[in-house]
Amino acid sequence: MRMVRQWLRGPMGALLYKELLEAWRDKRALLTAVTFALLFPAMITGATVFMFKVKSENESRLALIGAERLPLLAQQLAGEQLLVDVLEAGEPAELLAGEYDLVLQVGEDFASEYRQFGVPRLYVYMDGASKDAGRARRQLQERLAPLQQQVVQQRLVARGVAPQLLAPWRMEMRDISTPSDRGKMILASVPALLIMTLFVASLATAVDASAGERERLSLEPLLLQPLPPWQVVLAKTLAVASLGWLAGLLSVSALTALMPLMPMAELGMQQATSLSGVLAMGLLLLPLALLVAVVQLLLALGSKSFKDAQMRLSILQVAPLFLLMALDMSQVQLDRPAWQLLPLVGQQQWLKALLVGDSVSLFAVLAGSVVTLALVAAFILIGARALRRESLLGAT
């Protein structure tokens, strides 16, 4: 601890201060980072709320034609989600074009057929091209089924037959998923987006601190300072990572803050992100933020120009998303311990688990983080060697 303190009091401290100052002074880079960090949690929340609305809250309107002779039918159909209007007459196509989602027309001699044990018809008119038709039809069937069951039961009882004879067996569904599994479906994209946030948020700063500094010709004086090159790379890495990491933290916090707005429980999903989970997510993003920063810096340093650096990093920022999607689709069992040692994959798996309140293996997180940090160290050393090369400065 004391060593670190002393070290920071020396030239390294000044260098770090300079890098951080430059990183955080760039208002546009900051704005990009914050916008992206807040945008995707808001979008996920919006999409979930919308999905729930579509699933549950929408009412359907049913026009019931010819049922003035069947008051019981109208009474049994009307319910919370199905508004029934009994109409004497009407043209189904017109009604469907108007405010109705479904038109139910009762056959002419329905009542007498029913009483004589015939099979009277109910005609359902629907607009198959309308997105509401399916829901309305389902709601109609849900309302009609209990009435049908009552009729069948009474008919069998009247004949001395046990209604259970009609069901030679009963299927019992056993759903082995847990609420947190179902939560994963909605939150599946979040880890990759969180990781992408790191890339997006630190991109501008990474370019500016490397290729930008070179073009401003301020890299040369920096290298003339009595500091080992690795410290220069480290300081830059820390400055760049600070932006990415804080954007990541912002995203995690925003997501957690918005979670209560999502009707997770109503969708049978668990909303289990705990405070310690949020803090853990923030912390395990840190090594990754450092890795992203150092890789971005190296790529930018190695590019020919500022423009070239921007191009390279833009490609790089979508790379993890594609990589993780490809791995997901390839059905590889990513939750195996060996996979979790891999940067990106490891973090993705842990974030996924923590988001839905699952536990993660402490050992895997530690080992994976150490691997990530070791890579950071290796890249810093590579960067330091690169800085010694004169050609680096000459590139324009």
Binding site: M1, V152, Q154, R159, P163, G277, S359
Partner: protein, 523 residues
């Protein structure tokens, strides 16, 4: 943290350790360095404690605390018929020392646990198991969003060693044969009867509560389960935060005297039928019923088995018919078929009567009769006098037809008498639910016998039968009550619950009849 997971896991100290480490590290990290981290100037010049190491250590602590979630023990995932979601099942040892037993406990875990007290379901009978209440879970899904729902099978019921005496396979033909069968069962398993009574059940429940690590609980009791709940409230008031009682059997009410209640339920059905155009045509079917029962004599052998269609080959006694009518009144959907069934039977067509009796088949095999008689004989039958029976059965269709069954059974089931304490005032919030046409626990039980409860609300479902928790808006009202037990509920929607349509003829309900108004009398 879901408290019941702590049942065994808490003992290993993981929880305490993990959290302690976490708070020290994170607090230190925050308080000392957070401001400085934002101000890079200070960071560079003065002392700064930003180290990756500290962060990693903090992470270790955090993950350790998160790991405790995985440290649940003693539970198994299981499924019960009627509910597709996995449950957590436990075997909980209770009554260590004199009366040891192991109880099967099933927990429907909350989707999003928020620390609300779990809801324990207490089943009826006595003799039904809490796990038989699984079909209520779909209706209780709003409650289950933030609360665990716990089903403890009491001793001698369901998966805690059902004490069934083999009666569910075949009901003996007459009361004497029934008593003989029961007597044999008692002689064989006498020792089992000794720990089957309410105090033991309540104590067991309290042990389960502690075992699962629940600080306070809320109880839902149905039918006889309300008696258990009310006794729990007397004996363990500190463990309870609120009660929901459906089909209330107050401690001092002799619920086995049920002829008057059944008669009132039948009269309400008559009133509702008279107002319904599709039912009014059956005329005075009540008189038909009286005549049918009077002329039934020593029995009728013409009845057919509703499953096989063959003649059942024994004389069905009158008390069995009267009890079938009584049982039909439990469920308004079945009761709606009574006028037609009786009208037909009085005119010589007994098929509908056979058909009606088949509707009780699925429910009849869940009752553990050994448990039923152990509790009923020890706690209820011995406090009922012959005069009371006579007064209760006078001028009713049932007469002593229901009581006689238990009276005959208890004569051969000589268990020790157990009496209840006089109830003491309690101020827990209590939600009472009754059906106005309940043939066994009518609403006036809850209205008149619970004066010692100072904080209660009563929902009465017009025309409702026995147990109404799953009907209409009642599940929502229960959920609302549990969330804000001190607020009065808006009970308007209870009035919208209707009687199911009457059976009009062999074709079923009359779809072309004007729908009946909500009738059935006021509770």
């Amino acid at each position: 943290m879901r408290p019941y997971h702590c049942a065994a896991g808490c003992a290993n100290g993981l929880d305490g350790d993990g959290r302690a480490v976490f708070s020290i590290n994170w607090a230190g990290l925050f308080e000392e360095h957070w401001e400085k981290w934002l101000m890079a100037k200070e960071l560079a010049r003065k002392r700064a404690g930003f180290t990756i190491l500290a962060l990693l250590l903090a992470n270790v602590a955090l993950l350790r605390s998160a790991d405790v979630f995985a440290g649940e023990s003693g539970e198994k995932t299981c499924f019960l018929d009627g509910w597709s979601q996995p449950l957590h099942c436990y075997q909980v040892p209770v009554g260590a020392g004199e009366q040891p037993a192991e109880l099967a406990v099933a927990v429907a875990p909350a989707v999003n646990p928020d620390g609300s007290e779990p809801l324990y379901l207490l089943a009826g009978g006595p003799g039904q198991a809490a796990s038989d209440l699984v079909p209520l879970l779909p209706s209780f899904n709003r409650i289950n969003r933030n609360r665990d729902i716990v089903m403890v099978d009491r001793r001698g019921a369901g998966r805690s060693g059902a004490f069934d005496c083999g009666l569910e396979e075949e009901l003996p033909a007459d009361l004497d044969a029934f008593a003989m069968h029961l007597s044999g069962c008692f002689q064989e398993q006498r020792a089992r009867t000794e720990d089957l009574y309410s105090r033991r059940t309540v104590d067991d429940l309290e042990e389960v509560r502690t075992h699962l690590g629940h600080e306070k609980i809320v109880l839902w009791g149905g039918s006889w389960g309300t008696r258990t709940a009310l006794l729990y409230q007397q004996w363990y008031p500190e463990s309870l935060s609120a009660l929901v009682l459906d089909g209330v059997a107050p401690i001092e009410t002799k619920v086995f005297l049920s002829a008057r209640a059944a008669e009132q339920a039948l009269q309400q059905l008559q009133d509702a039928c008279r107002e319904d155009p599709s039912c009014a045509g059956f005329g005075d079917w009540r008189k038909d019923l009286d005549r049918l029962l009077a002329e039934w004599g020593s029995g009728d052998a013409r009845l057919a088995d509703p499953l096989t269609g063959a003649a059942i080959g024994r004389r069905v006694p009158r008390w069995e018919v009267a009890n079938a009518v009584r049982t039909a009144l439990y469920d308004p959907g079945v009761a709606a078929q009574l006028p037609y069934v009786i009208h037909q039977a009085a005119r010589g067509n007994l098929l509908p009567l056979s058909g009606l009796s088949s509707l009780f088949l699925p429910a009849s095999d869940t009752m553990s009769m050994g448990l039923t008689f152990s509790v009923a004989c020890a706690e209820e039958l011995n406090r009922i006098s012959a005069e009371e029976v006579a007064a209760d059965s006078r001028e009713t269709f049932l007469g002593s037809g229901f009581y006689d069954l238990f009276e005959a059974g208890c004569r051969v089931w000589p268990v020790a008498e157990r009496s209840y304490p006089t109830p003491e005032p309690r101020d827990h919030p209590v939600l009472l639910i009754s059906g106005s046409a309940d043939p066994i626990t009518p609403p006036d039980y809850a209205d008149t016998r619970l004066d010692y409860l100072t904080h209660k609300q009563h929902l009465v479902v017009a025309g409702g039968g026995h147990i109404n928790s799953a009907r209409g808006c009642i599940p929502d009202l229960i959920a609302e009550f549990l969330d804000t037990p001190d607020e009065p509920l808006d009970t308007q929607c209870v009035g919208e619950i209707r009687r199911p349509p009457f059976m009009a003829d062999a074709f079923g309900p009359a779809l072309d009849a004007a729908p009946q108004k909500n009738s059935g009398g006021e509770g």
